[in-house]
Amino acid sequence: MSSVPLGPLHPAFKEPINFKLKLEGEFVTDAEVRIGYTHRGIEKLGEKKTWIQFIFISEKICGICSSSHQGCYVQGVERLTGIVPEKRGIYIRTLTWELERMHSHLLWLGVLMHEIGIETMFMYTWRDRERVLDILEKLGGRRVAYSAITYGGARRDLSDSLIQQIIRLSDFILERSKFYENFILNDKRFLARTKGIGTLAKAEAEELSVVGPVARASGIPIDVRKTGYAAYYEAPFEVVVEKEGDVNAGALVRAKELEVSANIIKWIVKNLPQGKINVEVAPFSKLPEGETISRVEAPRGELFYYLKSNGSTNLERIKIRTPTLANIQAVAHTLKGHYLADVPVIAAGIDPCMGCMDRVVTLNEKGKKKVMTETELIDYGIKWYEKG
């Protein structure tokens, strides 16, 4: 019996997380997760900033599903104010979400292949992902935090040439997703490392309240998109469900979802309504008192926001529950009984995003330490640099 710490800094993990593993020979008998290494205090920051400023902070929560966070937050604010967003804006918003899902799934497929050691596939997926990122850059202005979403709709309109490029991209992804599916189902090396590894049975998945592709790979047909927010109440699509619940099923779900996303995108650009794209709002307008919840299907699963307003320009509470936090317990659970060498594959199997999971809190010190105002802190910083 031995105890092995894995992480927070470990070549197998792309972001900091710590597993305390108990081993019996080569087998893991118990696992404990320690998170919080990228904790930044965003929920506390949300109390200090006005609700319009937080639109741009919300997308910094996660570098991969940035517009899901932004969209979920904006959707919640819209529910508080009771405004009906512009239809064209809503369609562009949905388009951004689906492009983001494609880039996130491709990124994840690449990371999984990299963990297994199939570097060629890693290069292929990331090459394809680059094309999605190019479109997102044209849509929002930046590759990662594209700020494509704003109050009442979207921030930038689509041009005709961009629509043509998006259609070409969708066709390309449709073709590539077939290739990935084929690879996932037939490649011997990939099957040897993923089939029967990290299996989460349906009953266990229900008990652990997992969300998103992890739940769908275990045979639970849940998808927030089916509740019909934004343009999803019109867009036709099927929820992809697999039964096995292992890493292979997870990969298959995501590869098939690439296809679903590409089809939704094609439907959206074909049915794009004309009109305004967003609603103008005064910079320091107050929110009405109240509380609400907002949910969207981020690439990793159900993203949950709880917003509470006390009638001022700032929100009183922004509670964020990210999909990785809901899924991370499933990793600790499924690790038991597997080889130590399978740990990175299983951990990567839920598509973990530590930046999302940790978020929250700037320190407002009590007791010994002094609280500094912004100007005091700037002065302190200038003096510190002049000294050294």
Partner: protein, 138 residues
């Protein structure tokens, strides 16, 4: 399943907001009992536990529940706890995922969950002073 009908049949009173989500107010002593009952009628998915510092009203805890069969409607169970030594019984025996969510609430707001198997800080480092909880407002 129809969540609203199931709740009415089991004698729960609730309010419905304009987005179709349901809000229940319960006393803090009854949370475990109510959540057990809700789980047996089909609300078998705990989506989130939110903690809010409501100043004079004390701390507010909200349990967001869903049914896997009807993924549309969120049932929000809301309860208030007094400011002095805030305590509430843990629901981690009913929903396993609550273990993590309750640790987060404990870490940021300092609400103690009685019967929690592993109640320690989750997001902040372990060497942060014991009485320090960043989301408290006073």
């Amino acid at each position: 399943m129809n969540v609203e009908e199931a709740l009415i049949r089991n004698g729960f009173s609730f309010t419905k907001d304009k987005n179709g989500n349901l809000w229940l107010d319960v006393k803090s002593e009854d949370v475990t009992k109510v959540l057990t009952e809700l789980k047996t009628i089909g609300l078998n998915f705990l989506s989130c536990v939110s903690g809010v510092d409501c100043l004079d009203k004390g701390f507010c805890l909200i349990y967001h529940l869903l049914s896997l069969e009807d993924y549309n409607i969120v049932v929000n169970v809301k309860t208030y706890i007094g400011r002095e030594d805030p305590r509430i019984s843990s629901v981690s025996s009913i929903f396993k995922v609550a273990e993590l969510y309750e640790r987060e609430v404990f870490d940021l707001l300092g609400i103690k969950f009685i019967g929690h198997p592993n109640l320690k800080r989750i997001l902040l480092p372990e060497d942060v002073p014991e009485d320090y909880h960043p989301l408290r407002k006073m």
